[in-house]
Symmetry: C2
Subunit: 639 residues, 2 copies
C-alpha cells in the first residue's frame, strides 16, 4: 500500500482516543443507545433502508428519493464509529444487515444508486447539478471506509471500490469521459478517504479531478441541461440561487478553486468541497491550494460566521449571502454546515497549527453543531437560529434528513478531533478528559487528560512513555482566554513559548510527566463587528468555549425588555440537575417597566428600568424544555 | 329639507376656510396643478375612466376591474373639492365630462357599476364579501355629493340618489330584501353624506341598517358563498384572514358594532366603518354608540398605532394583528388607513372635544398620511414603513390604486379639518395660517390665524365680528407641548381654562380681538410603550407635530451604527431650499467605529463610539431624493 505523506501533522483517529468525561462521554453513550437505534427506525419507517431491496415499482408508495441513499450511508458511517467506542453486538448485527442490503443493490457494472436504478433507470448521470447522484456515492464510500475500519470486513469497501472504479470510467478529462462533477460536493473528500484506506492513487487522482473541475468553462451544468432539452436562459421564474452569478456560486463553481476568494453559495456544499480540497492540499503538500483555502476560511470566519459557529444565514440558498449579513432570528445556520465547518477547520490544522482554526472548530463544536440534537438524542434542529419567538422546535426527523445522521457520525467520532500527531509533536487541540494514544515519530505517546472542561479551565495532561524521549507537546491556548498558567510536575514552566496560539513545550519527556494548565473561564461579554447590523449595541455571553442564551422558561421578562448593565456582575454556577448538568449564569440585569405607561403608546420620557434577575443557559442546550422564546444577543445599557 | 341635529359641534366646511400658509397652500396648489391632472391621465391610460363608456366586450383588453369605479369616484370627489379652493375652468370642464360619462353608465333600474354591467352582468350582488360592489357605490355617492356642493349641479347627485334608492330596495331587514352589507365598508358614511345633502332620511336609515347589520348571525358572507355554490368549510388553502375568527374581523363583522371592543381586521375597512358609525352616532345623538366608538378608538391609539399615525402593520390582511405588534421595516401602514384615521378621529371631535383625538388627527396628518405622496405631487406610497434599507420607493400608480386619489381628496379638502363650530363655540383644532368663516349660533365669526406652523408654535388668531358677542373660543392645546402661553390683545390671559386639552376662552368678543398663543416647539425624544418589542431601547425625534427620520442621503454612517447620546443637543434650523422647505435637526451623535475590528468578527471589548454629526428630516418628506435607507427609531446610548 502506498500512501503519500500528509503535510504537517495528522489527527489521531477516534478509536485511539478514549473519552471519559462528564460532557462528551454521556453524549457518546446516548448517541449509541438512543440516536443510533431511533434513526434506524426512521430509516426503516420512511423506507430509506428497505428501498435498497430494489423492489419499488412505478405506482408504489415510497418512491425512492434521490438523496435517500446518503441518509442510509451516513447512518452506516455513524454506526461503524459507534460500535468502536460503545461496543454493541446487537447493533453490530443490525449494521451488518444494513451493509449487506446496501451491497446487494449494486448493479453488475458497479453502479449503486436506488433512485436511478428503480425510478429513473434511463436518467443515470443526466442531472449532476441537482440530483445528488455522486453525492450519494460519496457518502456510501465514507460509510464503506468507516465500516471497514470498524469491523475489518472488506465487503462494503470492495463494493464501493467497484463503484468508484466505475465512476472513474465515466468522469474525467480523458476523451470520451464526461467533464462533470457533482452539484453537491462530498465525493471529493470521500475519494480521499478511499485512497487512504486502499492506497489506490486512482481515487486521489479522481478526487483531484473533481475538485479542480469546479469552475471550469464551459459550465458543465449548462451542457447537461441542454442535453436534457432544457432552456438555460436565466429567467425570473428560477429561484435567485439558480440565476446569474449565484447559480455558479451555489455549487462553488463560479471560478476554479485556485481563483476563489470568498466562501459563497450553499453552505454545506462549500464546507464539504473545501474539506476535500484541504485533504488534497495536505496529501500533495500543495502550498498554493493551501493558501487559497486559508484565504477562503479566513474570509469566512472573519466575515460570514455566526458567534455560534453556525454559517449560511439564508434559507433561500441554504447558504451565504453577503459579508456581515448575519440576521439572528432568521438564521438558517444548518446543523450540517456547522459540522462541515468543524471538518474543514480541523483539516486546516494539519498544515497550520494556528489556534484560529482550533478556536473555530471548538466554537462550532460546543455551540452551533450540538445545538442540532436534543439532550435525549432523538430530536433535531435543521436550522439553528440565534433568536426565536418560541416557534422554532426540534423534531424527530426531516423530509430532507441530512442533519440527524450527520450529528450522529460527528458525536460517535468525536475522539478524532482532540489530538494530532507528527514526527516530532504531540498536539492537543481540545480539552476533553480522555486518553489518547499518539504516534510521535516512532514512539507511542499516551496523553491522559483530566479536566472538567467545558465548565472548568483547569487541565492536567500526563504523558505516558515506554522510555524518556524528546519531542514537543503542543497545546492550544484557547482564544477565549486572556492569560493562562502552565506548570510541569508542580513547577511553573519557565520560558513559555506560544506560537500561533499553541503552547509549545519541547523537552525530554519521561513517563508520568504531568502538564498542568489553567485557562481561567470568566464570563465574557462578546461584541460583534460593527458591520453586523443586527448586533449593534448588543452583547452576548460566553464562558470558556460555551456561548449562552436566555430562554423564556428561565426568564419571566419579555426578551426585548431586558438590558444588561455595563457593570453587571455574573454568577456562574454548575447546576447538576439542569439540562443534564450545565453551568448557568445568573445576572442582576435591568428590565423595562410598565410604570406610567397605562393607556399610553408613546411619550417623551423613557421607560423606567427596574432590577430583574436573569439567567442564561448554554446555547447548545436550548429548546430542551417547554417551548419558549430564546435569544443569544442582549441589549446592553449604560454604553 | 329636514336634517337631524348633529350632537356637539360640526366641522367648518373646507370651502369656508381659506388656507394661506407656507406648508399646506403650496400642497393644495400642487394637488390642483399636478396631482389632479396626472391622476386623470392615469385614469384614462389604465382605462378606468373610459370603462364607463360600457363598450368593453369579452376578449377585449382592459377588462374593467371590480374596484375601478371607486378610483374614478374618488378623483371626481377630489376634483370637485379642488376646483373650489383652486378655481380652474379647464379642470372644471374635464370634471364635468367625467361626471357625464359616469352618469351615462347608469342602468335603467338605477344600478351603476361597470364591472357588473359589462363583465359579469349575471353576478350582480352575488359576492358582497370580496367584490367591492357597494364600496364603489359609496365612493360614487361621495363624489356626487362633492360635485353637487362644488358646482351646484344636481346631475350626478340625482343619478346617485336613484342608485341609492335602488340599493335601498335590495338591502334591508324587510321581507324579500337581502340582509347583506359590503365586505369593504364605505357606503355607510357615504349614505350619511347623501342624507346631509338631500335631507332624505331613508339614506340615514339605510346607513344605519348597514352599520348595525355587521356582525349579525347567520353570517351573510357564508349565506351568499353557499348561494354561489362554494364550500365554506375553513381550509388551510385560504389566507389566514379568510379563516377562523379572522375572517369575521377582516370586515368588522365578528360581533355587532355595539359589542366590539377592539379595532381589528382590514385597517381601511375599519376606519371607514367607524367613521360612518361616528357620523351616525352624532346625528342620532346616540351615546351608546359613541361610547363604543370611544372605546374602540382609544384601544387603537393606545395599542395599535405607529408613532406616524400609520395603522395596520400587516400586509397579509392589510390590517391589524395583535396589540403592540408594530414592526418598523415591514410596517404596512397603508396611506389610506392613515387618512381613514384622520376621518374617524376628526368625527370623534364632534362629540368629544378632547385633544387626544385632535392629536391623533394631527399626528396622522403631518406624518403617516402625507408621507404617501411625493413633494412633486405625482408619486405615491401605498405602504408607509418606519424603516427601510433603501428598497422602498414611491411609484406613480398602483394596480390597486386607492391611495393616490384618497390623498388627492384629503389635501383638496384640508380646510375642513381646521375649525369646528357649535351654537356657542368657535373651535380651532389645527394651527394652519388661514381664514375661517364660522357660524356660532346665529353669528358669523371670522377667525384669522397667523402662524408658521408646523415649524413654529407661535399662533395669533384674530376674531372678526359684525358686533360684540359672547361665545367661547376653544383652541386645542397640542399634546406635544408641555406648557404654553396665551394672551389676548397683548395682555397675558388670566384664568386660563383648559378642559380635555382644549383651551377655553369665554368672553364677549369684539371685532379685531386677537388671541396670541405660543406652543413652544422643542425637539422631543419620543419613547415607545415597553410592550412594543421592536422599539425597546430606541428613541424617535419629534418637533411640534412633525416626526423625524434619518435618511441615508443626509447621513454617511450606516443606520445601525448610529447612537443618540442621552445628553445630545439638537439644533433645529429651517432650510428653505431643502425638500420644499423643512426644519431639519442636526445632532452631535455617536457612531460605532471600525477601530480594531480588522479581521475580527467577534471580540470581548465593545466597539468604540466616535462622534458623528447626524441630520434628521421630517418623516413625511422621505424618499423625495436619491433612494437610500431611512429610519425613524434610533438607538439611544447612555441609558
Amino acid at each position: 500500500m502506498s500512501i503519500k505523506n500528509i503535510g504537517g501533522n495528522v489527527p489521531v483517529a477516534f478509536h485511539k482516543v478514549k473519552i471519559q468525561d462528564n460532557f462528551w462521554e454521556p453524549r457518546i453513550k446516548t448517541n449509541a443507545a438512543q440516536t443510533l437505534y431511533s434513526q434506524l427506525n426512521k430509516l426503516n419507517e420512511t423506507h430509506r433502508l428497505p428501498a435498497f431491496k430494489m423492489d419499488w415499482k412505478p405506482g408504489d408508495e415510497f418512491e425512492p428519493h434521490i438523496f435517500w441513499d446518503s441518509d442510509v450511508a451516513k447512518w452506516i458511517e455513524g454506526a461503524s464509529y459507534s460500535i468502536i467506542v460503545c461496543p454493541d453486538p446487537k447493533m453490530e448485527k443490525l449494521l451488518d444487515e444494513a451493509v449487506d442490503l446496501v451491497i446487494s443493490a449494486q448493479q453488475p457494472d458497479g453502479y449503486l444508486n436506488v433512485h436511478y436504478t428503480v425510478v429513473e433507470p434511463d436518467k443515470r448521470w443526466s442531472n449532476l447539478r441537482d440530483c445528488h447522484e455522486l453525492y450519494c456515492a460519496g457518502h456510501l464510500i465514507e460509510a464503506a471506509v468507516a465500516h471497514y475500519r470498524a469491523t475489518g470486513k472488506r465487503k462494503m469497501l470492495d463494493c464501493l471500490c467497484r463503484y468508484a472504479d466505475y465512476i472513474d470510467s465515466v468522469f474525467g478529462v480523458e476523451p470520451g469521459k464526461k467533464r462533470g462533477y457533482c452539484g453537491h460536493p462530498e465525493l471529493e473528500l470521500a475519494l480521499i478517504k478511499l485512497y487512504e484506506a486502499t492506497g489506490n492513487e486512482g481515487y486521489l487522482k479522481l478526487s483531484s479531478y473533481f475538485i479542480e473541475e469546479h469552475g471550469q468553462r464551459p459550465f458543465y451544468f449548462d451542457i447537461e441541461a441542454i442535453e436534457r432539452g432544457e432552456d438555460i436562459t436565466p429567467t425570473d421564474a428560477l429561484p435567485p440561487h439558480m440565476r446569474g452569478g449565484e447559480r455558479y456560486e451555489y455549487t462553488q463553481a463560479d471560478v476554479p478553486i485556485r481563483e476563489q476568494t470568498k466562501v459563497a453559495g450553499h453552505a454545506v456544499r462549500a464546507m464539504y468541497f473545501y474539506s476535500g480540497a484541504a485533504d488534497l492540499a495536505g496529501i500533495n503538500d500543495d502550498q498554493e491550494l493551501y493558501s487559497v483555502l486559508k484565504r477562503l476560511l479566513d474570509s469566512l470566519i472573519n466575515k460570514r460566521m455566526y458567534i455560534t459557529g453556525g454559517i449560511g444565514p439564508a434559507a433561500s440558498n441554504e447558504g451565504f449571502t453577503t459579508d456581515y449579513d448575519l440576521p439572528n432570528r432568521t438564521a438558517y445556520a444548518e446543523t450540517c454546515a456547522a459540522i462541515g465547518l468543524i471538518m474543514w477547520s480541523h483539516r486546516m490544522l494539519r498544515f497550520d497549527l494556528d489556534n484560529r482554526y482550533g478556536d473555530v472548530m471548538e466554537r462550532a463544536l460546543y455551540n452551533g453543531s450540538i445545538s442540532g440534537i436534543s439532550l435525549c438524542g432523538n430530536k433535531y434542529f435543521y436550522e439553528n437560529p440565534l433568536a426565536s419567538n418560541g416557534n422554532h422546535h426540534r423534531v424527530d426527523w426531516f423530509g430532507c434528513s441530512c442533519c440527524p445522521t450527520n450529528i450522529l457520525r460527528l458525536i460517535a467520532s468525536l475522539g478524532g478531533y482532540i489530538y494530532s500527531q507528527s514526527t516530532a509533536d504531540a498536539i492537543v487541540h481540545l480539552y476533553v478528559q480522555s486518553e489518547g494514544e499518539l504516534q510521535v515519530g516512532d514512539k507511542i505517546v499516551k496523553l491522559s487528560q483530566k479536566t472538567n472542561n467545558p465548565w472548568d479551565g483547569a487541565v492536567s495532561i500526563s504523558v505516558g512513555l515506554d522510555q524518556p524521549s524528546k519531542f514537543s507537546v503542543k497545546c492550544r491556548v484557547p482564544g477565549w482566554c486572556d492569560s493562562f498558567e502552565v506548570g510541569i510536575n508542580g513547577e511553573p514552566l519557565e520560558d513559555v513559548v506560544v506560537k500561533n496560539g499553541y503552547l509549545q513545550i519541547e523537552r525530554e519527556w519521561r513517563d508520568g510527566d504531568c502538564i498542568e494548565l489553567n485557562f481561567p473561564m470568566l464570563v465574557k461579554r462578546m461584541y460583534a463587528n460593527p458591520n453586523i447590523n443586527e448586533d449593534a449595541g448588543l452583547v452576548a455571553l460566553q464562558r470558556g468555549p460555551v456561548l449562552y442564551c436566555l430562554e423564556g422558561t428561565d426568564n419571566a421578562e419579555q426578551p426585548h425588555r431586558i438590558f444588561l448593565p455595563e457593570d453587571a456582575e455574573f454568577e456562574a454556577a454548575f447546576e447538576a440537575d439542569l439540562l443534564d448538568g450545565v453551568t448557568t449564569i445568573t445576572i442582576d440585569a435591568l428590565c423595562l417597566d410598565d410604570e406610567g405607561w397605562e393607556d399610553k403608546l408613546y411619550r417623551d420620557t423613557p421607560p423606567v428600568l427596574r432590577p430583574a434577575t436573569i439567567k442564561a443557559v448554554p446555547y447548545y442546550a436550548w429548546d430542551n424544555r417547554e417551548p419558549d422564546w430564546m435569544s443569544v444577543w442582549l441589549k446592553e445599557s449604560g454604553s
